[in-house]
Amino acid sequence: MGFKKRAQRWLAGVLLLGCLVGLQSFHDHISRRRGDLRAAQPWEPYATGPEGIKTEALKLPIEELTGLVFGGLIAGFRHQAANITYWRMQRYWEDGHWPRVLGMLKLTCFLDPHFQAAWSMLGWHQAYNLSAEMDKQTFPPIPPERYVSDGMKSYERGLDYNPGSYMLYEDAAWTAFDKAGDMRIATEFLEKALLTWDPEPDVTKKGPLVYTRMLGHAGEKALDMEAALEAYQRVLRMDPDDSVGIGATFTIRERYLPAIRAAERGDIDRAIRLLTEVQWRRPGDPFVPGLLARIYEKAKKDKGAALAAWERSGREWRQKVARAEAYRLMAELGRLDDLGPLVADSQVDVRKLYEYVVWQMNPGGMGVLINIRLGPDGKTISDPRVEDGQVVRIDPSPDPMGRVASLPPGTARWFLNGVLIAEDNTSPYTCTLPLEPYRGSEMDKLLLKVDFVPDGGGRVLWDVVDLVPSWVKPKTEGRPGGPGMPQKMQMPGMPGPGGPAAPPSPSGGGQSH
C-alpha cells in the first residue's frame, strides 16, 4: 500500500473520529434539551446509592429477572415489564413475603416511574407493613419510624415523577396524618390533593369533601382550632348536611373557642377554667390537655404544669405531638431521666374496644362509654366506684344537632357490652346496672352505651355533655389530678380529672366525628 493511500486512510479515520466527537456533543445538547423538556425517560430513583436497584435486584430470586424484564428494560417496553413485576409483587403480597414485595415494588418503580399505583403501594408497604412487622425480623431491629420515613420518601419520590397525582398526595397525606403524626406535612399534601383532584378516576367523587374533612382533623390534632374550624366551614359549604362538619363545628365552637378567645384577650385564668370544665365533663376529650399545656407554658410560664398536661395527652391518646412536646419540656426542665413509657396499655385497649365494638354498633355516634374495672380479686369493683343494682339516670336536654334517630321520641336504651339491658320511655330515664353476672368473670371492662331521643323532636340527643350519670360518686381521696385543676371546681357527679379517662365520645374531636 502506498504512503499516499495510507495517509488518506488515516486522514479519513481522523476526520470520522472528529465527526464522532461532534455527534457526541450534539447528543449532549439534545440530552439537555430532552431533560429540560421532560422528554427523557427517567432512570432514577433506585439506580444508584447503597440501597439502589442493584442491591434490591440481588435480593430477588434469579427467575424474577426474566428475559422479559431485561427485554423491557433495553427495548423500551418498560411499562409492560413494570406491569409484570407488579403482578409478581402481588403474588408475594398474598404470601406475605414482605422483603420480596419491597424488592419487586422498587423494581416496578424503577422500570416505570410513572406507575402511580406502584409508588402508592411502595409507600404504603413501607409505612404500614414493614414498620409493623420488619422491626421484629431484623437484628439489630430497625425502628418502625425508619420505615415510615422511607414510605414518606417514596411518596415524595413518586410525586417528583407524577406531580399531578392526587392519589399519591392523598396517600402521603394520610400516612403523614395517621402514621407519621406530622400534621404540617399532612396539611401540605392535602392542600395539593385538593388542587390536583381529578373527578374522572375518583369513583367516590367525594375527594374534596374527604380531604377537607381531613384538613379539619389535622388542624385539631395540631391544636390549631381556628384552622380546623375554617376547614370544617369549607366542608359545610360543599355539603351543608355533612354530619362530620356539623358535629366538629359545634364541638370546636362549644368546647375550645371560648377558652381560646379568653386566652387571646389575656384572661388566662378564665381560659384555663373553661378548658378544665370541659375536661371534667369530658375526660375523653383528646385535645383539651394539649390546649391547656400550651396555655400553661406560653401564658403562665408554668412548664411543669404544661409537661403534666402533655404527658397525659401522650399517655391517653398516644398523640405523637404530645409526646414530642413532653420530651422537649422534659429536656428543658432537665428531667429526661424520668422518662418512662407514655403508653398505658389498658387505655389503648379501651380505645380499641370502643372503636371496634361501640362505634361500629352505632356509627351514627351517640352514647356514653364507661370503663368499669373489677378489682384485683376479680369480684369487687374498684373503679369507677359503681355498685351492683345502682341506678343510672339521665336527664333530657334540648337536641342541639338535629340528627335523625331510629328510636321513638322520648326513649332511652342502655346497652351493656353490646346487649340491650334496658329501655325506658318515661322521664326521668333510668336503668339499673346488672353487674352481678360479670362478677368473678375474667372480663375487666364493661361497656355501657346509652341511646336517647327526647320528647317531641324525634331526634337523637347526640351530645352527652348534659348527661351526668348519677351513680358516679364524687372522688374524695386524693389522686394525681390534672395540672392546675382547682379543687373548688370539683363538682359532685363528675369523675375527677385523674380518674379513668373515657374514650372519646362520638361528638369528641379528631377522628371520632
Binding site: 486512510r9 479519513a12 479515520g13 470520522l16 465527526c19 464522532l20 466527537v21 461532534g22 455527534l23 457526541q24 450534539f26 447528543h27 445538547h29 439534545i30 440530552s31 434539551r33 430532552r34 423538556l37 421532560r38 422528554a39 427523557a40 425517560q41 427517567p42 432512570w43 432514577e44 439506580a47 444508584t48 428494560l73 433495553i74 427495548a75 423500551g76 417496553f77 418498560r78 411499562h79 409492560q80 406491569n83 410513572h114 399531578g164 378516576p201
Partner: protein, 253 residues
C-alpha cells in the same frame, strides 16, 4: 448515482421476495391493531398503554425486519460469490455499500410507515373524542429514522463479518444504545467509568428517539425533539457508512 439506485432497487426486489419478511409485517400489523384488546390490563392508563405498546411494537418489528434483511445484505452476496459479478461491473465498492444500505433501509422504513399508519389509526379511533393529537404523530415519526440508523450499523457489521456476527453485533449495539444513559449514571471505579464513557461515545444513543414520555405525562412534544434526533440519526448514518466504506474497501474477496 444510477449505480446506487440500481443496487437499491435490487435490494428492494430481493427483500420483497422474502416470505419471512412478509410474515413479520403481517404479524406486526395484527399485533398493533390488536393492542386495544390488552388495554384493560392498565385500567385508567389506556392511552399510556396504547402509546407505549404501539410505538414499541413498531420499533421491535422494525428491528426484526432490519436484522433479517441485514444478515443477508452483504454476507450472502459473499457466500454466493455474486459480489464478484457485481463488483466486476462499473459499480464501486462505495456505491455497492450505499445502494445496499438504501435498499434495505427503504424496506424497513416502509414497513415502519405501514405499522405507524396502523398504530395511528388504532390510536385515533380509540381517542377520537379528544381530537387529532399531532404529538402522537411526532413520536411515531422519529421511529423510522431510528430504524434507519440501526440499518447503518447492520450494514457496517456486514462489511466485515458473517451473518451470525452481524446479528450479535447489531443487537448489542442496539442494547447499549438504549441503556447508554443508564450506564452513565452507574457508579464505579475510574476505569469502569472511563470505559463506559468511551462506549457511550462510540455507540449511537437510541434513546434519543423515544418520545413517549411527554405523551404519557400529557406534555407537548417540542418540534426540536423531532428534528434534532433526525439530524443526529443522519449524521450517524453518514459516519457509520464512511467507516463501513473504509473497512469494505480494504477487504479481499
Amino acid at each position: 448515482m444510477s449505480a446506487i439506485k440500481a443496487m437499491a432497487l435490487a435490494s428492494i426486489r430481493e427483500a420483497t421476495r422474502m416470505r419471512a419478511l412478509h410474515i413479520v409485517l403481517v404479524f406486526a400489523v395484527v399485533a398493533i391493531a390488536a393492542v386495544r384488546v390488552f388495554e384493560a390490563y392498565s385500567p385508567g392508563e389506556e392511552a399510556k398503554f396504547i402509546i407505549d405498546t404501539g410505538i414499541n411494537l413498531i420499533r421491535l418489528f422494525g428491528l426484526l425486519s432490519g436484522l433479517m434483511l441485514g444478515a443477508m445484505l452483504i454476507p450472502t452476496e459473499i457466500e454466493r460469490k455474486t459480489i464478484h459479478v457485481i463488483l466486476s461491473k462499473p459499480v464501486t465498492r462505495g456505491q455497492f455499500l450505499v445502494g445496499k444500505f438504501l435498499g434495505a433501509s427503504a424496506v424497513v422504513v416502509g414497513s415502519a410507515l405501514v405499522m405507524g399508519a396502523v398504530f395511528l389509526a388504532v390510536y385515533f379511533h380509540r381517542f377520537h373524542a379528544s381530537g387529532f393529537n399531532v404529538d402522537v404523530l411526532k413520536a411515531t415519526l422519529v421511529v423510522p429514522f431510528e430504524l434507519m440508523l440501526f440499518m447503518a450499523i447492520v450494514t457496517f457489521a456486514s462489511t466485515f463479518s458473517s451473518q451470525i456476527f452481524v446479528i450479535i453485533f447489531a443487537v448489542s449495539a442496539w442494547i447499549l444504545g438504549h441503556v447508554n444513559d443508564f450506564l452513565g449514571i452507574l457508579k464505579g471505579s475510574a476505569l469502569t467509568t472511563g470505559i463506559l464513557h468511551v462506549v457511550g461515545a462510540i455507540i449511537p444513543h437510541f434513546d434519543m428517539f423515544d418520545l413517549t414520555r411527554p405523551l404519557m405525562m400529557g406534555d407537548p412534544v417540542a418540534t426540536e425533539l423531532v428534528w434534532k434526533p433526525i439530524v443526529y440519526a443522519l449524521g450517524w448514518v453518514a459516519v457509520i457508512l464512511s467507516f463501513g466504506y473504509l473497512v469494505f474497501n480494504e477487504r479481499e474477496f
